[in-house]
Amino acid sequence: MDHAAGRPIDPRVLEAMLPYMKSLYGNPSSIHSFGQEARQAIEEARTKVAELINAESEESIIFTSGATESNNMAIKGFAHRNKNQGRHIITSSIEHMSILNPCKFLTTKGFTVTFLPVNQYGFVNLTSLEEELTSETILVSIMYANGEIGTIQPIKEISQIIHRKNAYLHVDATAANGQIPIDINNEGIDLLTVSSNDMSGPKGVGALYIKKGVRLEPLIHGGGQERALRSGTENLPGVVGLGKASETAKKEMPAESKPLKKLRDKLIKGLLDPVPHSFLNGPPTKRLPNNAAVRYSFIEGESILLDLDMKGVAASSGSACTAKTLEPSHVLRAIGLKHEEAHGSLLFTLGRQNTEEEVDYVIRIMPEIVKRLREMSPLTPEGLME
């Protein structure tokens, strides 16, 4: 139940990709029929990605090497190209590192960046967004949803505020795409990052939606592929896989969302109700349908994970990315959790493969795991109150 960190590739996606790894090896830029076959496959994939997010034309989709590159391209590409309009960028304090670090990098290149605070549920404060927007602000980057705590941002309201001040909106949809419907027209999104592996597509490929009229500087110069915005021979099997994953997600999302939410709510309730001093991370509503994030006082996340792992359950402690640094996740800190609260956090992300039996199993074993670790812990409710 750790689908946010890595999910199995959908067999139908793999099936669609295989021919392009074997017999269909044409270079999409070649004139001959092998090349044209490849070109057609890429353009079909582009249409499918565009349809997933209701983009007005498939031409607005650029393929990249993944969400990290898309985010870098959106932030740095936009900033460099539009610096004559202003040098101020706004983002939130719970973005992915591939947003936060490009933004921090830009502060060394003459830009100023505002990192907006969020409330206890992870929602961006719309009043502070409005207050921070100045005539110097060129870009605001807010994630569609947060994969660690499940929060779905009010993107439409955010875009209205931003557009009133003539700034542009980039949205990182990594955790959201394939989970919830995205409509870039209705929601007023200018740039949007699409991730492949977060919707059971292959790794190493992603996309960036660029609204007509929005200008970016390329990060990668070369042979002029992808409208000269992203040079380099296209990752043909990857792009075809992302196209198929987008198509599958678009088709199956409506039917999958309801049972997934039911499963999520059962899991959350089962994780929290029988255990005292346990809490939900993130909002009770406006939450990703696959996200169950909880925390237990007096014990530490990694030891819970190890216990779960021994019983055959894979989960994540806060963020798979922060495991390297041992620092509690910046997202959990940003929603106001103390270090020791963040340390006891646990994240389950469900996928379509998870069954109700599996959820029942996790619910059954969790109270014992917490009990065992709490017996070992020198921390107690009394100690906490002192």
Partner: protein, 125 residues
């Protein structure tokens, strides 16, 4: 990422618990860092007669606590003082590099417990 020995101690920690009438108690770390441990010792004829631990922390923190109690039990205080962090890690067939600093506090907790005992020796606790 962990050795089989670390996992074995994590699964079946030795000497877990408290000693209510301990002769020495040492606590190191704090919950803010994500690791905190308390070691309790009972001393008889200058030897560690009984030793227990309580730990809040990751797998490495729990395994090193368990291991240090095993290494120290029955040792003289002088011998126990010589048990260092690297001895604990080596007895567990090593620890991941990132865990060597924060989560390898068990030897420090043992030393703190011995120091506590020596400070209060002869006084009624």
């Amino acid at each position: 990422m962990y050795s089989e020995k670390v996992m074995e101690h994590f699964r079946n920690p030795r000497n877990m618990g408290e000693i209510p009438d301990a002769d020495g108690v040492g606590t190191v770390g704090n919950p803010v860092c994500g690791d905190m441990m308390t070691v309790y010792i009972k001393v008889k004829d200058n030897r560690i007669d009984d030793i227990r631990f309580k730990t809040f922390g990751c797998g490495a923190a729990i395994a090193t606590s368990s291991m240090v109690t095993e290494l120290a039990k029955g040792k003289t205080l002088e011998e126990a003082k010589k048990i260092g962090r690297s001895d604990v890690a080596a007895s567990l067939d090593g620890l991941p590099k990132v865990k060597m600093h924060c989560s390898n506090l068990a030897a420090d907790a043992l030393h703190a417990a011995i120091e506590d005992y020596e400070k209060h020796k002869g006084t009624k606790r």
